[in-house]
């Protein structure tokens, strides 16, 4: 998975320059002016018309710099739904959610901070979508483990007739969200690995850097191995397609990798890594929070177990379907 080096340089520079503690307003403007806020939205709809490879680089770079920003929600979910429904797009910050039969959606990312919310729900005659101002909805603010907005949205469904969309949209919404979180997890793990290597090579105890201790080397080597597996499995989705099987493999590998990477990183950092002052939590907490979104780790492991149990094919043919 490679992108234009000039794009990667630009992404790195945008997120390195941003102070993660400052509000995202000015960053969002910059992302918009660079064509990154709607990176994969078709050019005819005001986007940049890029693909998943570029989106992956964008999400990973933001996460590897510890910058929380609603890029997947705005571009990969809300604007994708608008394209599917052929509804107009603009520069508003958007998020998207799937409403239940009462018109409620829980843990909606960034709902309280968005200008508009793109809604998706099952009507009697199939799936419908509508793009409404956030101010028209009742929103209760809440947050995930990492402090990112995850709000409850109540929508008056009877007041909105919505636009019909294809039956594939609901499943693809879930897969797109799940892949986006896997990509963000791999970005966060890159950041965690970098911080851990920095710490181990600069912090001195017993007269030598922590990296001089084999026990510490092995903690970090295991982090690198798990992070590499997670990256390979998410890259494979970009290359081989957004299928439930491929996404489940990526989410399973990335989810289990997060366990090792987060635990070992905190172990390597010692007590300082547990403080508000130290940046480590800006990577470890989002990685854990993202793992729990768009399907738990158990959900994806179970999906693969069921895939193996509901076919007579052997496992190899399931993995490598010709």
């Amino acid at each position: 998975m490679t992108v234009d080096p000039a794009l990667q340089d630009m992404l790195t520079s945008v997120f390195s320059d941003h102070d993660p503690a400052s509000p995202i307003g000015s960053l969002w403007k910059k992302l918009g002016s660079l064509g990154l806020a709607r990176l994969t939205t078709p050019a005819g709809r005001g986007g940049s018309g890029a693909g998943w490879d570029e989106a992956a680089a964008l999400l990973r770079t933001a996460a590897s710099h510890g910058v929380p920003v609603p890029l997947p929600e705005n571009d990969l979910l809300a604007n994708w739904l608008l394209t599917e429904a052929d509804l107009p797009s603009d520069e508003s910050i958007r998020t998207a959610c799937v409403l239940d039969e009462t018109g409620t959606a829980r843990s909606v990312p960034w709902a309280g901070d968005a200008d508009r919310i793109t809604l998706l729900w099952a009507a009697e005659d199939g799936w419908r979508t509508a793009d409404v101002p956030a101010s028209s909805l009742r929103i209760e603010r809440a947050a995930n483990l990492a402090g990112e907005p995850r709000d409850t949205v109540h929508a008056p469904l009877d007041a909105t007739s919505g636009t019909r969309v294809g039956g594939h949209v609901a499943e693809e919404f879930m897969l797109r969200g799940a892949l986006a979180r896997a990509l963000q997890m791999t970005g966060a793990m890159d950041g965690i690995l970098r911080l851990s290597i920095d710490h181990a090579t600069t912090r001195t105890q017993f007269g030598r850097p922590l990296a001089g201790f084999q026990a510490v080397q092995h903690l970090i080597a295991d982090m690198a191995a798990e992070a590499a597996l997670a990256k390979a499995a998410t890259d494979a989705v970009l290359r081989d397609g957004l299928t439930p099987f491929n996404v489940a493999v990526a989410r399973s590998c990335a989810g289990h990798a997060t366990t090792t990477v987060v635990r070992n990183a905190h172990q390597v950092h010692g007590a300082i890594g547990t403080t508000a002052e130290h940046p480590l939590h800006r990577y470890t907490l989002p990685a854990l929070a993202w793992r729990a979104e768009f399907g738990s780790l158990h959900h994806w492991d179970e999906h693969l177990s069921q895939a193996a149990l509901s076919t007579d094919q052997d496992i190899w043919h399931l993995i490598n379907d010709l």
Binding site: L193, L309, N320
Partner: protein, 361 residues
């Protein structure tokens, strides 16, 4: 990169062949499944020595094509151990360092499935610390006299020859990797004594090979005198990253899934976790195969594959056992399990390789 459709055709052909050939899927069959008829049947289809150029009797295929074929064979638990070492690492070494005469002598026979090799690296006092080998090669008229002992030599009692890493200059503590050379040694030569090392499962795959003044002619030196360390470490990329480092127990995972379908074992989400890791590892391993094909260094990437993959192979054994499986394939796997994370460089040595790659040492 080979065309994906072509690879699918190739994979389909291998699957069709495997359906037509009568064998029992086994765990660890690349290490223990010695079947010369099977090897020759594969060779007749051009699937042994695939990457050997046609001028040396091979199929002139790419590493990625070999990768596709070996993956299919390993996933099926097919008995490939007779040609495994020759195909995986001896042929690439001969191509990289061999003389024209050596290539013409050995490569066509390897590709026909008629010449089998073993590895002569480890010694009784040199396990993980390979540079400390003591087998000595002394100059003599027209060649070398080799004396020393090699261990863990898989298949030496059946193979024709092995590549021996030996000291051609005295050990120098300030240049540990200097003074080593590689030799092609006939396992039936006078002075070669092969003794079985029987495993705790009662199986004989490993051997101790004692060399006592074994004459090796000049034309069986591989590569250059003193270049042995560089040559063997370049073999390790092939040895450490391939699909045999994560597929050794896939036939067991298949059996466990089938038993669960039949209601004989409880459902457990770890089945899905292991499937995901096999799928993820093949992407990583394929990445290393691509690097090797492009001539890029991949030591660290290969170490990552081997640490994760061999751990997974063992986890699959634990999984089947903990679910309560009772089957001969599980017993065999339990008796072999401890070796998975040792052979080809222990996982602790490999974590050191990874740590060096990360700049930690």
């Amino acid at each position: 990169m080979a065309h994906p459709v072509l690879m699918d055709d190739l994979r389909s052909s291998v699957r069709a062949f495997l359906r037509s050939y009568d064998f029992t899927p086994a765990v660890d069959a690349w290490h223990a499944g010695w079947d010369e008829d099977f090897t020759r049947a594969l060779a007749a289809r051009g699937w042994v020595g695939m990457t050997i150029p046609e001028e040396y009797g091979g199929a002139g295929r790419t590493f990625l094509e070999r990768f596709a074929v070996t993956e299919e064979l390993l996933a099926a638990g097919a008995p490939v151990s007779a040609h495994w070492i020759a195909d995986r690492q001896t042929a690439p070494s001969l191509l990289a360092y061999g003389t024209e005469e050596q290539k013409r002598e050995f490569l066509p026979a390897i590709a026909r499935g008629e010449c089998f090799f073993a590895i002569g690296m480890s010694e009784p006092d040199s396990g993980s610390d390979l540079a400390s080998v003591r087998t000595a090669a002394e100059r003599t008229d027209g060649g070398w006299l080799l004396t020393g002992t090699k261990v863990w030599t898989t298949g030496a009692h059946r193979a024709h020859a092995f590549l021996v890493l030996a000291r051609t200059a005295p050990h120098d503590p300030s240049a540990r990797h200097a003074g080593l050379s590689q030799f092609i040694v006939d396992l039936r030569a006078p002075g070669v004594t092969i003794r079985p090392i029987v495993t705790m499962g009662g199986e004989h795959h490993f051997n101790e090979v004692a060399l006592t003044d074994v004459f090796v002619p000049d034309d069986r030196l591989l590569g250059r005198v003193g270049d042995g360390w560089r040559q063997v470490t370049s073999e390790l990329g092939y040895e450490r990253s391939g699909p045999e480092r994560f597929l050794s127990t896939l036939p067991l995972l298949n059996e466990a899934a089938a038993a669960t379908r039949r209601g004989e074992l409880p459902k457990h989400p770890d089945l899905g976790r292991h499937i995901a890791r096999v799928a993820g590892l093949r992407h990583m391993s394929q990445g290393v195969a691509r690097s090797l094909q492009d001539g890029e260094p991949a030591d660290v990437e290969a170490a990552l594959v081997k640490v994760l993959g061999t751990t997974l192979e063992g986890d699959i054994v634990e999984f089947a056992d903990q679910l309560g499986m009772a089957a001969p394939i599980l017993t065999t796997a339990q008796l072999r399990r401890a070796g998975f994370t040792l052979r080809g460089g222990t996982n602790e040595i490999l974590r050191g390789v990874i740590a060096r790659g990360l700049g930690l040492r």
